[in-house]
Symmetry: C2
Subunit: 683 residues, 2 copies
């Protein structure tokens, strides 16, 4: 090992420096560089940002010092807490703002911070240049430079040290040109020690997720409705037979409502009736019975072995099984007798059931997160996840997380992801914005959204801008669902096929993650409970048998959407979304919405033009940023649903969308290979 | 002392609670309330915000918890680190945002944070209300309420405890109405212990300054030019004779360039000539000679005793003396021989003079803030301030602070203001925005600005919006100067009186602090050095004698501006500024600028309407938010410069501004005492 290599070369891991930004007085008063406004930085570094593995983090900051010295600013990053830092120089953007980026290459956690220092050699060289230009006597300045070069030589590997010493000699002899040698600059950048570097006082974290966490298509079904023949309770084995169907639809994740034993006390009947008739199956969200609780399987669905078989079979179809984790208990859940201290006792000796006064939910006991045995409760709840992780599940949809303590989630998800960074948690929090964002910040990978209630062009546009351009883009993983077992919104009540097509298409193309509750969706089910945004004869309370081969099924369309998503990287991310103007009669159309998604290098651009009007044919003129996209005056758009191609221009392009046939285009935008001749060439 | 008063009543100081927000897992998992996005909070609490004594701090935050429980959120504040907290309830603004305010009542530092908890009694009462409305059996709920009331009784003073116990008894007996008693609610808010409260993890600071720090009018002059008769070096005794003049002009602060012995080596001559002729006085910024350095007085100005007399006499005229602290040395400064280690040595044995290559300033040695004796240097520099504080000076204008180390300033100002919170530091940092804002954040009270170079309507508007509505409003104290000994901008070069009037008026009314370099300003001096934005025959290098009684002097106008500022609280703050539309020919006029300043209660509204055109008469139509200001269809505006009154309407109001006479109005806007009869009344 070379004796004098006191400092490793640039780009390699570098040694730790104590963070001291601004508090220098007590320790080292010579750190002259100030670092401020590092971005991204959520709540002063309190929460990590999120990225998918392979994605980049663009980091910027203000950095400045007194006087006119030249600064060097470096982005430092490492793949684990305490690991060696790597670094990359930050570029000056102007106005004392600096920027650089790094790629996150391992699922788990990465960390970054910023370090800045006075670049002594660059300062000297910059000033020497001005002095020489002004014809000044620079002999003393060259001696100063020689001192710097000699200092660097002390820290250099032997060969480099020799080169540096010869440069120092040249400078000492008055050779000003030597000072401007790029070789010298390179060596000095490598070996001259940083003095009095300032490090940003916070080390910032990135949660790095696997690709599925960032881009996923979910299919929800009730396994008990999956029996091959009518009149029977579906099982995991039946579900294995259903897997090819789900896989053909192109989904990534098959998600089931809770699979645990269902309580009998206060069991709900058909259409949420307060008393179940004998033989009614009850709601799977009323978890726990004599057969067991959150770590048990409802016997009619099958055994743990059957479940393992399902997980394995799903894998073979490219599907992952997602479980629904609902932290609540039916009155006959074993926890109620084993751990009464985890529930709230009432003065009459009963246990407090769920209420949102005046509504009472006697079939559900919520956990009391203010129990004195909160450590025991937390550990047990975490162990439920751990149990299912041990059965091969890595994707969880969490029921109503906003009604459980936020500190619990932060701890629980943090602990679980430390050992299993591949885990994906989808928050079912149809709640207020701050709560939804709060859950995302503290650890939930994805979240349900307000998409279901965003139906107009203005609402969709505003919401997407908030999600993709506001601060939420750093931590919130939106997952768009046109329906759920709990939500059937009014736009479906007329049963118009066009609404089913467009709502699915919007969900599948606006965000990188979407989901459907089927088969009701592709079978165009639309009858609501009167006065409620919910399905009539809801599968939550009864078993159905679905004829998947009904001719009106739009399963072919759902499959096409997922196929298009898989073929187009632009649709696999939330960044790169732009809305485009659609004119009709010289006004912005309020019925046709047009938006594109593009990869950063513009190698993949997908344009969606979609009519929100389920009743009448809509026409409009779409204008795209063709020049910005380098498309020239003419370019091709190919409809990925139909295969039809059109030649569009940099001006306005006519579209006509008929709800009776196909109310949308999903267009692949591309340069024309052999450009059309410009008539002007021949004039 | 009452035995059971475990918790003091609300509004009184409250006991400390450990800050635990979000890190609850390791310590107390039952803190269910999340606090986020506390504002104002500069750089995650790294820097204090600033307020004047008596001003209020409006604090807001997000606070939310899981579920439907009712939250209580309190703003906590204290007047010194470690002192007892006071608190005030925060109001819910909607969308989980909360707000409250407190007044800062003592010069020094105040601190604030936020605490939030589940309000158990309010939650119970809220739910009881819904249950009773729905006609439910609430007997068990009343028992639960009785338990809460009994718990509060344990912490109450004896009388209150008795009342609480009787309420508990009533509830136990099934008296639901007792649960809605306002008296009970009040007692419960006072005595029911907070459980599992969350405290924001950061305690945030406010630098509380005296009124002069927030609103001040500065007058700069060279005391050596203040001799009563021509041909003599002015003295402090002469300056005492000049005080009535400065006081009549209405200024608050009399600021002098450095008053220390002036170096002889490389002394600059007239018009910055590199060699001084014998007898030339040199630049006062070339500090230090055989007579002494930064703690000495230039002998020709007088003695320390004379200086004391000046400070005293100034006080009697309502003036404070501000000194110019320039941390740099002439080559013959005693520090150069006493502390050569505080300067940078060159390889040829010389000391590094100031340079901005290729420019050389051989008459100035900068301190080397990277000296190994930085602790000694810091202490000595601080002691310079301390010396002048001991002589009665509390206002300092700091020369080029951005060329000295930022950590030094943060430490130095912090240390000095800890013992002398009345100190005012004005940063002369004509530098890049981040540096100027950085100095303000770390402690400078006021700052010079870009005002000098903001001359068009658009530039002035944009700059004022940045200063008064952007984040800088929390920490940056702009001080507008139309000129300085270093800066004579091109708009003055024609010598038009109108420019002198409007630039002074803009400075005096746009911000709460302004200053002038006189008597050159009021005497309309305007000859620049060719090719430089600087005065010809600059007082920096020579002694002048001014005839203050020249008929063209606009001292009467300056005096009027300061009189108007003192009479109108709206002009004494930077908040409350609004720009108003001025139309001409159905377009926004680009020559007439109109803006108002108003106190929060609208009891004082001042409108400035000013023509930026020094050449031609300008006309326009001004529209004010008359309805918003509660002025009715007609109201009165009185010109505070001329006394003339006009009746204006809620529509457009004609103005005509002539640069040859008076290119601006400063209008006091007021309700008409006896409103004009509306003709409609008689129809």
């Amino acid at each position: 090992m070379p004796a004098k290599a006191k400092q490793p070369p640039k780009g390699a891991p570098v040694a730790e420096a104590a963070p001291l930004n601004g508090l220098a007085a007590q320790t080292e008063g010579r750190r002259r560089v100030v670092i401020e406004r590092v971005a991204p930085e959520l709540d002063g570094g309190r929460f990590p940002i999120k990225r998918g593995v392979g994605e980049t983090v663009v980091v910027s900051c203000d950095a400045f010092a007194d006087g006119h010295d030249v600064l060097a600013v470096a982005l430092r990053f490492r793949t684990a807490a305490g690991a060696a830092w790597h670094e990359v120089p930050m570029q000056h953007l102007g106005n004392d703002r600096w920027q650089a980026s790094f790629a996150v290459e391992h699922v788990g956690r990465a960390f970054y911070t910023v370090q800045a220092w006075i670049d002594r050699f660059a300062t000297w060289e910059h000033q020497l240049h001005k002095r020489v230009e002004a014809g000044q006597d620079v002999r003393v300045e060259l001696l100063i430079g020689a001192e710097l070069v000699a200092e660097a030589a002390e820290y250099a590997l032997p060969d480099a040290a020799a080169v540096l010493r010869s440069f120092a000699a040249a400078l000492r002899e008055g050779d000003a040109k030597a000072g401007f040698s790029p070789e010298l600059a390179q060596l000095m950048a490598t070996y001259l020690p940083r003095r009095y570097a300032t490090t940003h006082e916070r080390e910032l974290a990135v949660t790095v997720d696997r690709p599925l966490a960032r881009c996923s298509a979910w299919y929800e079904l009730f396994p008990r409705s999956a029996a091959l023949e009518p009149g029977r309770h579906g099982t995991f084995r039946d579900l294995i037979e259903r897997l090819p169907y789900v896989a053909e639809l192109g989904f990534d994740i098959l998600y089931m409502p809770p699979i645990h034993p269902i309580g009998r006390t206060f069991r709900k009947g058909k259409n949420n009736s307060v008393t179940a008739e004998p033989g009614e199956p009850g709601s799977p969200w009323a978890i726990g019975a004599v057969e067991g609780g959150h770590k048990s399987i409802h016997p009619e669905l099958g055994t743990l072995e059957d479940f393992h078989a399902l997980v394995q079979a799903a894998k073979q179809h490219g599907l992952e099984i997602a479980l629904d984790i609902a932290f609540q208990c039916a009155p006959d859940h074993p926890y109620v007798t084993e751990h009464p201290e985890w529930f709230r006792a009432r003065p009459d000796g009963t246990i407090q059931y769920a209420e949102n006064p005046p509504k009472k939910y006697q079939d559900i006991y919520p956990f009391d997160f203010e129990t004195s045995d909160w450590p025991g409760l937390w550990q047990e709840l975490k162990s439920i996840f751990a149990f299912w992780i041990a059965q091969g599940v890595t994707v969880f949809r969490v029921d109503n997380p906003h009604t459980k303590s936020f500190p619990f989630w932060e701890w629980c998800i943090g602990e679980l992801k430390r050992d299993h960074p591949e885990l994906i948690f989808l928050a079912e929090a149809f709640s207020r914005p701050k709560l939804m964002y709060g859950l995302a910040k503290l650890g939930f990978t994805q979240s349900y959204t307000y998409f279901t209630w965003r139906t107009t062009k203005w609402e969709l546009t505003e919401y997407m801008l908030e999600l993709t351009q506001g601060e939420p883009r750093e931590f919130f993983g939106p997952n768009f669902w046109p329906n759920t077992p709990d939500i059937l919104t009014p736009q479906f009540y007329t049963g118009q096929r066009s609404v089913f097509l467009t709502r699915a298409a919007l969900a599948a193309t606006l965000t990188a993650s979407w989901g459907l509750y089927g088969p009701v969706y592709e079978l165009l089910q639309y009858m609501p409970v009167k006065g409620r945004e919910e399905y009539l004869d809801n599968e939550k309370y009864e078993i159905h048998h679905w004829n998947l081969k009904q001719p009106e099924s739009i399963s072919w369309f759902i499959a096409a959407l997922n196929r298009i998503r898989r073929a187009n990287p632009a649709l696999q991310r939330n960044a790169g979304l732009r809305f485009h103007r659609v004119d009709f009669d010289f006004h912005e159309s309020d019925q046709i919405i047009a938006y594109s998604k593009a990869t950063p290098d513009l190698s993949n651009i997908v344009l969606v033009v979609l009519s929100l009007d389920p009743d009448a044919l809509q026409r409009g003129w779409v204008q795209l940023p063709a020049e910005e996209w380098g498309l020239g005056s003419h370019y091709e758009v190919q409809d990925l649903l139909t295969g039809a191609s059109y030649t569009w221009t940099s001006g306005f392009n006519y579209v006509e969308l008929d709800p009776a046939t196909m109310p949308l285009h999903i267009l692949h935008v591309q340069r024309v290979e052999a450009p059309l001749h410009d008539v002007g060439d021949y004039v």
